[in-house]
Symmetry: C2
Subunit: 303 residues, 2 copies
């Protein structure tokens, strides 16, 4: 099973978001599992799966063909950093697929998108062709507004497509990565410096947790601020640890955690682990869950 989780730079206009969702849904053999739009981020995250590399690629072509004519980054404003109308397109191996297969899809799709739309494409994470271009934040730094200069630097020649930023669509970042959890925490203040302090405390790059990326974001429509996180490996840095650290840091400023948010989907194992940790369950195993156990037991006999 292949999973694809494109992040598209439109989180407000329902007609555009719907049109993109329909394009994905209309692709044979593809299931749109989730759509998460955020008006403050001005960004939507689509999650779809397919058993077939060809079909997941086709859904992605249709997504671009629908999104690109409808999104103009020159007039796009949002709290989340971005370089592209379709900003980032990760392919993720689920059960029965390998990372190598996802890298192959990312390369094929990246090349084809560059050709069809005259769009600069950067390969990232497991698909990266240069070590210094592996991590998303490095490629995205400067944003759409700075990219016309950045792209002329030969270290930033795209992997596919022209060395000229697309006037309305910017550049797109395509790659393959392990499943990650997009996890946001809303803080009960409008002081963005509190979210900044929490993001700095929790993210690996500034001394926090190894597998956490974090950004401070203002949620103007809610009068709150947000710590927007990517948990890159929940087995080694579980959700509850990131949560505890941000909660603790916010408290130091007299600020409470109002709520948290899963963007897209979360693996069951990550949720079980949170529950197990808080309840201090000894010797926890996934097979303690009734439905998991039934699935294993009934699979045993059928083959």
């Amino acid at each position: 099973m292949f999973e694809c989780v494109p992040n598209v730079s439109e989180g407000r206009d329902a007609s555009t978001i719907d049109a993109i969702a329909e394009a994905v849904r209309g692709t044979p053999g593809v299931h749109l599992l989730n759509l998460h739009s955020d008006p403050d981020h001005n960004r939507s995250v689509f999650t779809y799966i397919s058993e077939s590399a060809e079909q997941i690629a086709e859904a992605t072509y249709r997504l671009f063909a629908t999104a690109l004519p409808r999104i103009d980054l020159r007039i796009h404003h949002g709290a989340h950093p971005r370089v592209g109308a379709v900003d980032v397109v990760p392919f993720v191996p689920l059960e029965g697929t390998t990372m190598a297969a996802c890298v192959e899809v990312a390369e094929r799709v990246g090349e084809e998108l560059a050709r069809r739309h005259d769009l600069p494409i950067y390969l990232y994470e497991h698909a990266a062709r240069h070590e210094y271009r592996r991590e998303l934040p490095v490629i995205r730094s400067g944003g759409f507004e700075q990219f016309p200069t950045k792209i002329t630097d030969e270290r930033w020649t795209p992997d596919f497509g022209p060395s000229v930023v697309h006037p309305t669509a910017g550049v797109s970042i395509v790659g393959a990565r392990v499943p990650l959890i997009a996890f946001n925490m809303q803080l009960g203040t409008d002081r963005v410096e509190v979210a900044q302090a929490c993001a700095r405390a929790v993210r690996g790059i500034s001394g926090g947790l190894r597998y956490v990326r974090a950004l401070p974001i203002e949620l103007k429509s809610k009068g709150l601020v947000q710590v927007s996180m990517n948990l890159l490996d929940h087995r080694r840095t579980p959700i509850q640890r990131a949560f505890a650290l941000v909660k603790e840091e916010a408290e130091r400023y007299g600020v409470a955690v109002v709520s948290s948010e899963i963007v897209g989907l979360v693996p069951a194992a990550a949720m079980y682990e949170v529950a197990e940790w808080y309840l201090r369950i000894g010797g926890w195993r996934r097979e303690m869950v009734l439905e998991e156990k039934i699935r294993l037991a009934t699979r045993d006999t059928s083959g």
Copy 2:
């Protein structure tokens, strides 16, 4: 799908426990999902399922036929209250079965067990024939040792079988109930009065949480005490609420929660709810879990 969760009064002798497990496993169409034995309780909980009422009944007959010759309650000691060698036999409706169907199985199995083993049988919970005999603790009060007197009271005439306690197997309680979660918390003390105070605080009958039953138990082999709970309706009284209340009460005595324990199996929804609660996830839905969503999406197309 029918589930059956017999509690057997043997938690130490591996050969007896294994023989019973083998008897269940050997029944066609039945899956033994879980076996949990506790030496301090001197009790084992078997969890098995079947699509067929006949087959789940057959597994239960085999369980009794194997357990009864091997267990002598006259020489049985354990920290958990009991009245029978096979103490209590609940049938539970899972997806695709009704409570009414489980009541029917309980009645049929109860009658047949009484006939085969000359064993007094009490029907409880949804299968109960008298309102005052609906709840397990009421039927079990007095234990095996007091039952020879209790059974002569006409209010305690068994639903099936003789009005004489079986010399080695006592009496058995058979019925139908909703899925419950057997959840124990271990406290860092050997003072059983702390567990007693916590049990009193948390259980519905003494003023605590409506859908919680709780007993204090000494775990002599571990030098700890335990609050042994049944959570009868996790949708209305979720695990984290019982956990928080016991933790708070234990702290008042300067005692910490060392660990907790799931006996048998726990529904996935109950684990998700614990995680959601601690993380304060807004608008949580089960479909936010990747595997749940994939299951729904792929089920949609197949039929």
